[in-house]
Amino acid sequence: MLDTLFITFATFALLFALGAVLSPNAINAALCFLLCLVSVAGLFVLLEAYLLAVLLVLVYAGAVVALFLFIIMLLDLKEVSAWKLRGVSALASVAGAGLLVAGVLAVATRGQLDSLPLAAMPALGADLKAYAHALFTTYLLPVQLMGFLLLIAMLGVIVLSKKFTADAAGVAAGDGSAAQANLGAAASTLEEARK
């Protein structure tokens, strides 16, 4: 039963991930991404990491992909022409893929997965208290660093997207459009974060 479910979810996750990358239609890609996230959440549930599953659905499937769709619809993106690998982007993608493979191999081959106490693993992902405790003790530094990274990205987006001129800086954001700008900034932050 568990194996069947695992294979189902894993297959779905892979298929939809491929779909997200390869689909020329932006909406299709975003929805494939959404389904991929839901499948991964299913995998988390199988691992008894309920909290992670719920958070994944809540934050990514619920909010982030909705934002993607919002941006796609706002920009009215039609079919995206297939992009070619060249120069820096090719180098970056090869390097990124290489790092990912290396990372997975490193964890898998050194037998670290086996050496971890089995009882401790689900507790971190399932129990709210254990999870929160770990966030504020063991993983405090990474959490703070990630927070700073997002903050920097957000500031960067605000600086890039707002045209600051000497006299109009104060009136740049009217009362009504402020919220919209806010939203747009948040959306682009998330996009930035994904990149």
């Binding site: 929805l31 919002f70 619809m73 208290k129 009362d175 919209q180």
Partner: protein
């Protein structure tokens, strides 16, 4: 009975539970739409739908007449109409997503019910909540699944491939994200208060009700009284999340014809409607559990006390029925409140919705959270 139930295979149990949910939520949602028409009629000084009748049923003295005046047969007529009406599919739509959207609307609406406990029975002295699944992550799970509901509106708006539905879909996505933040932040104080230090942390909704049924003045107080700002922010965000007036931007028939469902008709349109009312029912249920003491009949009167008072503490089944009735009464009142507000308050402008969400509610809920953080840190050790 119980033995027979447990002897069934888990898969069959799941299917039966699922069917039970559908069998309860669908008629409730339909009744919601009828109640909406009746409430709107009463508020506007009209009798509302009161003509439709089934010939031999209406002959029953008194009851038949009352049912007819309440418009119950109209509900049946509407349901049948939605089933048998021609289902138009405009030529310019993206067929796949056009058909997918109503299904997507229904899934979260029906799934969230799973994590909402709706009653309790007494096992000796212990109060055991009744629900399809008492998930430890209760509220978070509900939020997670219900947050998927917005895709129905976005997909419907996008797949319709015409102007007004598209605007409705865009509005839906923006509004949903804007209010989700305040909604989540507004319930945090409740759980901070419930999860005292030293206990195993839990986001279970049943635990919140349990907390509100403790003896003593502070124990029995509903969170509505101790955390009015949380309740207010949550309620406003709930209105926005369920796309109810004054926040029904995605539909907004005055400026967007019908919003996201402009191109929909017949049964697919009815499914959107059922999903909206199901969301309302689940939302009201969660508000009841969090702030109105769940199945406790009155503030400072817990279910156990009440059962002892009217002398039914001995029979678990009766207590269960009474508790479900109390819970449903509160939920129905909240649904009435939703409608009452709808026929009172005019719709906000879109920019007002955004300003209210980002510039008013979000700072308010953050400030509220901080105040309660300090208050709970100071107060809780002493209580």
């Amino acid at each position: 009975m119980i033995e027979f139930w447990t002897s069934l295979s888990p898969l069959l149990q799941g299917v039966i539970k699922g069917l039970a949910v559908i069998a309860v939520i669908f008629p409730l949602a339909g009744a919601g739409s009828m109640a909406e028409r009746k409430v709107s009629a009463w508020i506007q000084g009209r009798p509302g739908p009161n003509r439709a009748a089934i010939p031999w049923l209406v002959k029953i003295p008194v009851i038949g007449r009352v049912l007819q005046r309440l418009g119950l047969f109209q509900l049946l007529a509407d349901g049948l109409k939605f089933f048998f009406k021609e289902d138009p599919v405009p030529g310019h739509v993206n067929k796949f997503y056009f058909f997918l959207a109503p299904a997507v609307a229904l899934i979260p609406a029906l799934t969230t019910v799973v994590a909402v406990p709706f009653g309790a029975w007494l096992d000796g002295d212990a109060v055991v909540p009744i629900g399809l699944a008492n998930v430890d992550l209760g509220l978070l799970a509900v939020f997670a699944v219900s947050s998927l509901g917005v895709y129905a509106l976005i997909l419907a708006g996008w797949a319709s491939n015409s102007k007004y539905p598209f605007l409705g879909g865009v509005r839906a996505s923006a509004q949903f994200i804007s209010y989700e933040l305040s909604m989540t932040l507004s319930v945090l104080p409740v759980f901070l208060w419930v999860n005292e230090p030293g206990l195993r942390g839990s986001l279970s909704l049943a635990r919140v009700v349990e907390f509100q049924s403790q003896p003593g003045f502070w124990g029995g107080t509903w969170f509505l009284f101790t955390m009015p700002v949380c309740a207010l922010v949550f309620l406003v965000a709930l209105f926005a999340e369920t796309n109810r007036q004054p926040f029904d931007m995605p539909e907004s028939e005055a400026d967007l014809v019908g919003g996201f469902h402009t191109e929909y008709g017949a049964f697919k349109w009815a499914i959107f409607f059922v999903a909206e009312y199901a969301h309302m029912i689940v939302g009201s249920g969660i508000f009841t559990l969090l702030f109105l003491g769940g199945w406790n009949p009155l503030p400072w009167v817990s279910l156990a006390d009440f059962a002892a008072l009217i002398g039914i503490a001995g029979s678990p089944l009766l207590v269960g029925v009474v508790s479900i009735a109390i819970f449903l009464l509160k939920v129905l009142f909240l649904i009435f409140f939703f409608m009452w507000v709808r026929w009172t308050v005019p719709r906000f402008r879109y920019d007002q919705v955004m300003v209210l969400g980002w510039q008013k509610l979000l700072p308010l809920s953050i400030a509220n959270l901080f105040i309660y953080l300090i208050a709970i840190a100071l107060l809780q050790p002493r209580l």
